[in-house]
Structure formats: C-alpha cells, structure tokens
Symmetry: C2
Subunit: 163 residues, 2 copies
Amino acid sequence: MLSSRALLVRQGRACTRKEHRIPLHFSEFLPYQLGVAATKISRRFAALYRAEAGLTIPEWRGLTHLDHSGPASVCDITARVHLDKGIVSRAATRLEQGGIVSISDHETDRRAVVLYLTDKSRALMQRLRRIADASQAQLLQDLQDDASLLQQALKRIIKEPSA
Amino acid sequence: MLSSRALLVRQGRACTRKEHRIPLHFSEFLPYQLGVAATKISRRFAALYRAEAGLTIPEWRGLTHLDHSGPASVCDITARVHLDKGIVSRAATRLEQGGIVSISDHETDRRAVVLYLTDKSRALMQRLRRIADASQAQLLQDLQDDASLLQQALKRIIKEPSA
DNA sequence: GTACGTTTACTGCAAACGCAACGAATGAGA
DNA sequence: TCTCATTCGTTGCGTTTGCAGTAAACGTAC
C-alpha cells in the first residue's frame, strides 16, 4: 500500500535533482549543519596542506603547536590540539621519517619524548602559516559579519563541559 | 642547539597540563574550531541514536529524509543529505536487514531502487524525532543568542560554491 | 626499599570513510 | 537502429579513525 507521494517517486526520473539541495528539515538541524560545514572546510584545508607539503591535518595541527609553543611531548600535543594519542604518535613517526621534526629523549622523564622542529621545517611552517592565514582571511571575508559570532559560538560549544 | 624554551620543556613534568586547554593561536583558527566542535556534537548525537535504536549517523540521516520526504532512491538520498553513494548503499542494506526500511524496484528505471519506511520504523522515527528535537533544543538553549547567527553562518558555508 | 597506582608512548584491531571501478540500464544523437 | 556517454547502485580497496591493551618509567605511600 503506497501513498500517492510514493507513486510520484516511483515514476519519472529516479533521481529528482542533481544539485545538492538540502531539504528544509535538515538545513535547520544543528548537528547536521555543523558536520557538513566542518567536512567541507576541513577538506578544503586538507587539500591545501597536502598540496603544499604532503601533510595531513593531524600532522599539521601538531606542527603548528610545535611552531608556536616550542618543543613538546606527544602527551602535550594530544592535550592541546584535541587529537587521540595514537594519532599523534603515528603522526610524529611519519614527521620524523620525513625529516620535519626531530625526536629526542626527555631530560628528566625517560618515558617521554620531545618533539621539535628542524631548521628545514621552520621555514616550511612559515610558508604554511602564511597560506593558512590567507585562506582563513578569505573564509572570514566570505562570512563577513557572521564570522566573529560564528567563532564565538564555536568556542562556546568547544568549552562546554560535554553533556 | 636548543632554545631556552626547549630546555624548559625538557625539564620538569613531561606533560605540562592535563586539561584540554587550547593554545590561543589555535582557538582562533576557524577550520580547527569547526572540526573540534563538529566532532564533539556529532559524537554526542551519535551516542544518542546508537543507544536508542542502534543507528549510525548515515543511517539516521537517510531515515530522516525518508521520514520527511517519503520514498526515495539511493541517489536521491545521496544528493540531499551530503553522503557518499557507497555509504548510503551500505546503510540501506543494513537497514533492510534490520527491517527498518523496505527496498523495491523503481517503476520505470530498472537501475534504481526505492527505499521506504516500514510501519515499524515509522513509529521509531517518531520517537527519534522527539529525542533529536529535545537534544537540539537543549543545545540551542546552551548557545543562547549565538544560536541563530551560528546557524546562519553555517548555512552560508554550506551553500558557498566551494573554493 | 618495596608495592601499587598513574602516566607516557606505542601498537593492534575492528569499524568507517572516501574514492574509484564495475556492470547494468538509460537515453540522446547520428 | 545503433552507438556511446551518462546515470544508478554495488563492491572492493587502501587509509584513517577511535579505542583498548601493553610495557616501561615514574612517584607516592607505607
């Protein structure tokens, strides 16, 4: 027993539209909006880093932290840039193999390691920082007045306890 | 040759802080904010659907579209809810095995299939809709005045051509 | 000094994802 | 009618992800 609506769909073209037109009920659902927007922006920036230096997003996040705050342990990076410790560990391995970071033992804690940028990578980060800043500026310009409030709301979500 | 900063990190505790305190430069970077916020909210809602009905997010997105717009093809769903066709296809298979949707042939296009809710799942969706609405209401309340502007900005990002 | 819980980093594994290739079906155009 | 490009859905494959488990080092309490 099918509704008349169902019959409409069953006839004519199988796929009604090609554009990614999002139905109303979805366009008002915040988790959906957030997910789609984040994926979109994330892809754009990931492509940038990959094209420029063959970096993944976790790699880039860790490097940025090192670049800005100086040498740090895996645990440090994990806590600061919202990444799983396994992901940071693997990223560190790849980056060391690529000569982007150096890893040495911690002075006083023999469990820990210390990651730090090489001279080679300091120049790389300078270039990447410029690119990231420019891309973000473009993004903010597209968003115009909404930008600052968007960031304010996102910060609130991030800081929110959890539940 | 290490900077004095490096020496500081190399001594004392390996992991300086335990809280997820995000360094300033990151907290201002939009793609980062967006990613972290989306992951956080997405996890929260995913846990909700899983606990309530054992549904994944792709499954839930597809079902919601079916629930709201009536029977649709895989391609339809793909276009409307921002999912890869492979993901939609697999979700459809799982949902059919679970008796949540029925799949039949398209009337006029023999390549296509038509997914539609079963009576059983219509009741399920009603319950899920209530839960999702309540959770979103809670979220919007937490965000207070920022909410509408957040949504406005996200919509702009989503609609934005691409570059 | 010894025992025990915690921290640090690494690794293994299952699940999910994105992409591309494929076969079947379609339909537009010669 | 006969191509041939396109569309629809499925499947396979490599990568990434998140989580749990492991071993070593640490440090606190006794």
